[in-house]
């Protein structure tokens, strides 16, 4: 999987050093991931490494081995302002010593009640921050509540995270869908996530990548509609008309922005 993970259609491949790795294997995993970053030509995907959290004894060694290998991003688990700032200090130092060409970005995993309430501060804690990620399993454990297939219990966290990410110009990435078999449930739940402002979703199985991508990618019809609308808008602009009517509906700036955003997503998804 380490050498083939880039062909499966995900935008970002996260290599995990945290919960997927047994305590006795932390060193081996770290070396393996470091070597993979150096030697595997990940051609179709951005790479990220989930390091161990600030309250573990492993994060400094993780950074020492991984940052020089220059993944595109680090996933910081149990994200907090303190974690971001302490880790950034160490990272700055390593990048300076190694003469790194690019700054590693942060994907912040929100997985406690406290971090949810601190979300605006966390979102603004570093210029490296690229996305807020919801970790609903740890979050619900922290809350002392049960996870259910309907996800009613994480709605507050989802709305808050999606809104905050938007406010701070970050991507909002939803928690993974944990039922491996329920394809219809995955699609329904992902459509909901998209409808409230999430821009992507974590996948814990390759079989989830296609259905999730399908939900977040604009449909062919939506792309054609956006192109036609922008053409109409351009015509209106040339004619000096501000607000105009398209297919019986009023078109103003927010509608035009939305059409542009559809095309941006289509372009980044390789659909245009």
């Amino acid at each position: 999987m380490l050498t083939t993970g880039d062909v499966l259609g995900a935008d970002v491949l996260i290599l995990d050093l945290e919960d997927a790795v047994a305590l006795s294997e932390k060193d081996a995993a770290r070396i393996l991931v470091r070597e993979a970053l150096h030697s595997v030509p990940f051609t179709h995907v951005e790479t990220a490494v989930r390091i161990n959290p600030l309250d573990s004894p492993y994060w400094q060694e993780d950074l020492a081995e991984i940052v020089p290998a220059q993944p595109d991003a680090l996933v910081i688990p149990k994200a907090s302002v303190e974690a971001v700032q302490q880790m950034e200090k160490v990272i700055e130092q390593i990048e300076k010593e190694k003469g790194a060409e690019k700054k590693v970005r942060f994907l912040l995993l929100i997985e406690s009640a406290r971090s949810l309430l601190d979300l605006p501060r966390i979102a603004a804690s570093s210029e490296r921050n690229a996305a807020l990620l919801l970790g609903a399993e740890d979050y619900s454990a922290d809350m002392g509540i049960e996870r259910t297939p309907f996800g009613k219990e994480i709605e507050y966290a989802r709305f808050t995270l999606a809104t905050t990410a938007r406010a701070y110009g970050l991507d909002a990435i939803d928690t993974p869908y944990t039922d491996m078999e329920d394809r219809a449930g995955l699609e329904k739940d992902t459509r909901f996530a998209k409808s409230i402002g999430f821009t992507g979703r974590l996948c814990i199985h390759p079989a989830h990548i296609d259905p999730v991508t399908k939900v977040f990618n604009p449909t062919k019809e939506a792309i054609e509609e956006a192109i036609a609308l922008l053409e109409a808008a351009e015509k209106a602009r040339q004619e000096g008309i501000g607000v105009f009517s398209y297919k019986g509906k009023m078109v103003d700036l927010p509608v035009i922005h939305r059409a542009k955003s559809v095309l941006d997503t289509a372009k980044s998804g390789g659909l245009l």
Binding site: T3, T4, L8, T43, A207, L271
Partner: protein
């Protein structure tokens, strides 16, 4: 003599793909039995034939790795002390290990087959067979038999059931294997035909082999283990990389212009090939398309599509599992065909020439699109064409599906170790890291680039990509002695195989 592909072509070098050559279809005359003899033991039949040195004995492989007949017959033959026999078996499996000591002591000195794996293949690779073996194709074998090039002295036909007249069917009895497609040419042309069976019925309505060809009926306790008849891999792959390859292949087929109502296809029984069929099936359902036929070795998967009405007819030369055996017994549109009709290049009605798509695997493929499914990269015999070269030559689009790099070995190489299927009959290679299309298909390449987001790149670029993972492989040392020839469906020699270093 060096052939047109630059390989050793022995006395009959390969020239052109059989699909392009003129159909001759000048078969020799069938050999009929004067009388069908009953009640003799195997030993008595061997005496009555009589069995002599230098004969060619034939077997079919419909019981696959569950076959007891080859072993039972050859052990009796061994006791007779005859020498220099040629075994013309349509395939050789691990269950046929009994041949190894017979190669060593000179009882058997040549093997003619379309596929071999297991201990016998190992023994041939190690130089234990005195003469150069021939590994041909499923269509090439009946062609050679019918044309009289491969003369069979005695054909021993594993017969799941015979009736009291001596007619043979594959559809009844505990060893039912469904179809006997690979045995029909043998029955017609062998000087003597011995049906070996464990089941005698009063009457068979639609026999595959008519009693007029059968000289002897021999009863034994059991002809085979039905469980062993089932091919190992008939499950759709769950491997995500395999699924990605299958999905890209299905997308390509969809945009090829050939996937429309009345199309035809064949897939191997490998996990990725079946996954391609799965994706195509979904697409067919969505667009309301039905296939006119599917052919070849039939799996339960194709039977389901037949029953759903997605495929109009199955042309079945070999059943891969028991559901196919059951279906071919009952369904009128699940049709038994013999290997001559299936893939003989000289038969103007052959099925493979009517195929739109074939999805195939490859152990190795090279930048000339030549495919090797006969040997490993070390030259050791692992299989053979089976229907690979036949379907590739016949189908409008022959598509190879494979992981680019598997277990640190690239399937794409500078030059294949052994040519099984000539590159001029192979159209497309679909891998997880990109798709290479034979440069002759300029229109298709343009169409796919315009309509899809498939990653299409020149095969040499794909090779470089593979090498970025594997590095440059070291050349494999090979022995000096020739052990087998890779024989094309028209009887010409594509390549030769050398003894491997032990």
């Amino acid at each position: 003599m060096i052939n047109r592909l630059g390989r050793e072509g022995l006395h009959k070098p390969y020239g052109l793909p059989a699909a392009d050559s003129e159909k001759s279809n000048k078969n020799n005359k069938e050999v009929l039995a004067e009388q069908t003899h009953w009640g003799l033991s195997l030993e008595e039949v061997l005496d009555a034939l009589p069995l002599t040195d230098g004969m060619t004995l034939s077997f079919h492989h419909h019981l696959r790795n569950g076959d007891y007949v080859l072993q039972t017959v050859m052990e009796a033959v061994h006791k007779q002390g005859v020498k220099d026999l040629t075994i013309a078996a349509s395939s050789i499996f691990p269950a046929h290990e009994c041949l190894v000591p017979m190669l060593e002591d000179g009882t058997v000195t040549k093997i003619h087959t379309a596929y071999m794996s297991g201990p016998v293949a190992d023994a041939v690779s190690k130089g234990k067979c005195r003469e150069i073996c021939e590994i041909t194709t499923h269509g090439g074998r009946p062609r050679a038999i019918l044309a009289g090039e491969l003369a069979i002295d005695v054909s021993f036909i594993a017969s799941p059931a015979v009736d009291k007249q001596g007619n043979i069917t594959g559809s009844d009895g505990p060893g039912a294997c469904g179809v006997l497609g690979y045995a029909v040419a043998d029955a017609k042309m062998a000087k003597r035909v011995v049906a070996v069976t464990d089941t005698v019925l009063d009457r068979i309505t639609k026999p595959e082999i008519d009693h007029k060809y059968v000289d002897y009926i021999v009863a034994i306790d059991s002809i085979g283990d039905p469980q062993g008849i089932v091919s190992g891999t008939t499950q759709v792959t769950k491997d995500p990389v395999g699924l990605k390859i299958a999905k890209d292949c299905a997308t390509l087929m969809l945009h090829s212009g050939l996937l429309k109502n009345g199309f035809s296809f064949q897939t191997g029984a490998g996990g990725i090939s079946l996954a391609v069929a799965d994706f195509v099936k979904e697409e067919m359902k969505e667009q309301g398309i039905t296939a006119r036929f599917a052919s070849g070795g039939i799996t339960d998967y194709l039977v389901d599509m037949l029953q759903d009405g997605a495929i109009e007819t199955l042309y079945d030369v070999q059943c891969f599992n028991l559901k196919a055996v059951e279906s071919v017994r009952q369904a009128d549109n699940h049709v038994k065909i013999d290997a001559d009709r299936y893939a003989n290049p000289d038969n103007p009605d052959n099925i493979v020439d009517r195929l739109d798509f074939v999805i195939l695997g490859a152990t190795e493929i090279d930048t000339d699109f030549h495919v090797n499914v006969t040997t490993g990269t070390d030259g050791k015999i692992l299989g053979g064409s089976g229907g690979h070269a036949d379907t590739a030559a016949g189908a409008k689009l022959s598509i190879i599906v494979s992981k680019l790099v598997n277990a640190r070995v690239s399937c794409l190489v500078d030059a294949v170790t052994t040519i099984t299927t000539p590159g001029e009959t192979v159209d497309i290679l679909v891998t997880d890291r990109g798709i290479a299309i034979h440069p002759k298909h300029t229109e298709l390449i343009e169409k796919l680039q315009k309509e899809t987001h498939l990653e299409i790149l020149p095969i040499k670029d794909l090779l470089q990509l593979a090498k970025s993972f594997t590095g440059e492989p070291e050349p494999v040392k090979r022995g000096e002695r020739m052990v087998a020839a890779s024989v094309y469906r028209d009887g010409t020699v594509l390549d030769v195989l050398y003894q491997i270093e032990e």
